[in-house]
Amino acid sequence: MSILTIIFVDGLGYAAWLFLVAVGMTLIFGVMRILNIAHGSFYAFGAYVCAILIGRWFDAGLPSIGAYPIILFSAIVVGGLLGLLLQQGILKHLQRRDEVAIVLATFALFLILDDTILLVWGTDAYPAFQPYADLGTIDISGIPFALYDLLLIALAVVIGGSLWFLLNRTNYGKLLIAIIHDPDMARAIGVNVDRIFPTVFIIGAMLAALGGASSAPKISVAPGIGVDVIILAFAVVVIGGMGSIAGTMIGALMVGFGRAFAVYLVPELELFVIYAIMTAVLIFRPQGLFVRPAARKI
């Protein structure tokens, strides 16, 4: 049925966006046990930098194709710089503190970064619509869909796939697991924890910034775009089972399809979809879809 096809494509598109937004948070939580609220700010910074660079690019009359690498470039720069700064400057010193303190520290960073955006870029919105508009559309089931959205789906699949492979199928991933469980013991058996933590945090920050940068052409980058992202990302991460890439992917798909269905069939429920799915998943699987085994206690 054509309506189902449309819902499917829309759901997939939203899921891809959600996944891009959430995957960095999953990674950082999975490895470092840090629930990073500043994730929303990384997202916003990525979006701002990308929008501004793209704006400059087109103001200079440069060819449209060059705008796509800018998206990746701004994500890498923003994630790299902010990630390094915050990890080395602040989070490193909080490593041994309890989770609540660390979450709140990232909350504080979020407040600071969000207002920094306001100070630096003001209250204006920055458009970067060209990459979205220029790619054109493709008809599916008689409805034009933006090719850019399909591109994001591909990007999400590539990123999800490679991260999953890295974490689950390589020794590096297993090293990460060893660190997650017990950093001290990992040190004692030869793992250089002090190098791996910043690396992971920076990659996570880059992914967050990529979420923002890749959204920039669809939206108008304005103050406050990071706030809602936090909760969405949280919810997806929790649904997936904290720290699981595959879980995040499935969580994003569930929410994406759920939302697309709601928009078509019961628009009033749109706001509740994500919470309803999260609650339903947690009721049946109290630790999310993909659960890590706990150490045997007794």
Binding site: I3, I6, I7, V9, D10, G11, G13, Y14, W17, D115, L118, T123, D124, A125, P127, F129, Y132, A133, L135, G136, T137, G142, I143, P144, F145, A146, D149, S215, P217, K218, I219, S220, V221, A222, P223, G224, I225, V227, D228, R259, A260, V263, Y264, P267, E268, E270, L271
Partner: protein, 406 residues
């Protein structure tokens, strides 16, 4: 000589700052400075307000209504302003007004368009110099019905919060009132700031309503436009953006030609061509490098109204500074020519203004590179506002009885 203290409350941060808050602040500050320097065109070219200079304290309206209540209270308790001007969003103003009333502070709402301000309360110290939101929906409905007599169905996409819901309700009721046979093909209420409208646009594309009404504003409106234009939604449905006037300069040629846009009253591109307007526009553009949009006009006319009331009251006292009650006595029922149009404080014991409204079709002039409107229609105040003493929803539901249109 002690200056007159004014508290200026508007969005300085958050999503409403760009489209509404900052223009409002700019508009108010521009006029306040001009008043202080006696640079306004005649007849408002007397220096100061009741001869006194005006000092302003800014307050950010962003955040929860609860926040604003504390902030307003502490503003009033610490600065003791003679008047508070501003308020864009309805949540914050509804929460703050009882406090301002309790503290006996003269308050001039510049925008805050909910009819609930006077319908649900009996304020003594509160004035509003712009018409309420009901006018948006009625104007759009009348205009569409005129232009599209064959219309059968329409859809709405509005933000999920009070303003979006109210806008849609008013428009809906007005449409039904004008032509009961119309049907609604789709109602969408995406979350404020959602940013992702792929599914909503697909739904509109597949349901094919003839008209799509939206009260989106700011970055949400821009995102919606960026996402719908490449997918050609504008070719399948007549788009109506009730606050489109605030976004047209930013969107430029991205806002599709043929979309129906309005602001709350004849402001911005719709403003009547008067000397006052020409002055305001050029001074605004010179100072801020931007075109003034309707909240800028709203704020400016609020300041102007207060000045007139003060000046009148002072005149009666022979130049002495009038007290709040005296100023209010002159403010009630005031009629004055403001920057965009005439403001008539004729409703709710003379504390609520009505104005005419304006609406038109967007057209981007490719030669000059400037946005513009065509097919502009003005509706007189009594045509698009409920008569004094009638509740907006009741009036709309009853089919807008007593409306005087010419």
């Amino acid at each position: 000589e002690v200056p007159i203290q004014i508290g200026l409350v508007t969005h300085l941060s958050g999503a409403a700052a760009g489209p509404f808050g900052i223009p409002a602040r700019n508009g108010a500050e521009l006029v306040i400075d001009a008043i202080n320097n006696g640079q306004m065109p005649a007849p408002y070219n007397t220096r100061g307000m009741a001869g006194r200079q005006i000092a302003t304290t800014l307050l950010d309206e962003a955040g929860s209504p609860a926040r604003i209540v504390t902030e307003v209270r502490s503003l009033v308790e610490s600065v003791k302003p003679q008047a508070v001007i501003g308020f864009v969003t309805t949540g914050t103003c509804l929460a703050a007004l009882p406090v301002l009333e309790e503290l006996k502070t003269l308050t001039v709402l510049s925008t805050c368009g909910t009819p609930r301000v006077f319908e649900d309360n009996n304020f003594h110290y509160v004035f509003r110099t712009s018409a309420n939101v009901t006018m948006d929906g009625v104007t759009a409905a009348r205009y569409i019905n005129n232009r599209m007599p064959e219309l059968k169905n329409y859809a709405g996409i509005n933000q999920n919060f009070a303003f979006g819901q109210d806008s849609w309700r008013d428009f809906n009721l007005a449409m039904k009132g004008l032509k009961p046979s119309l049907s609604v093909s789709l109602e969408q209420f995406p979350t404020v700031g959602a940013g992702q409208y792929g599914a909503e646009i697909s739904a509109l594309l597949s349901k094919r309503p003839e008209v799509t009404f939206s009260s989106f504003f700011g970055s949400d409106l821009e995102a919606l436009v960026y996402q719908l234009v490449p997918r050609s939604l504008q070719r399948q449905t007549q788009l109506v953006f009730s606050t489109g006037e605030t976004a047209m300069f930013r969107l430029g040629n991205r806002l599709p030609d043929g979309a129906i846009i309005s602001g709350r009253g004849p402001y911005g591109v719709f403003a009547r061509d008067t000397e006052l307007n020409r002055w305001f526009r050029s001074a605004y553009e010179k100072r801020y490098g931007d075109e003034p949009t309707y909240t800028a006009y709203h704020a400016a006319q609020a300041v102007l109204g207060l000045k007139i009331a003060y000046d009148h009251a002072a005149e009666k006292k022979g130049g002495q500074l009038p007290d709040t009650e005296e100023v209010m006595a002159d403010f009630r029922g005031l009629e004055y020519e403001a920057f965009g149009t005439k403001v008539r404080m004729s409703h709710d014991k003379g504390q609520q203004a009505v104005t005419e409204s304006a609406i038109g079709v967007y057209r981007f002039d490719r030669e000059t590179g400037r946005p513009g409107v065509t097919d502009v229609t003005y509706y007189s105040a009594d045509c698009v506002n409920p008569p004094d003493g009638t509740k907006a929803v009741e009036w709309l539901s009853a089919g807008m009885p007593g409306a005087k249109c010419d």
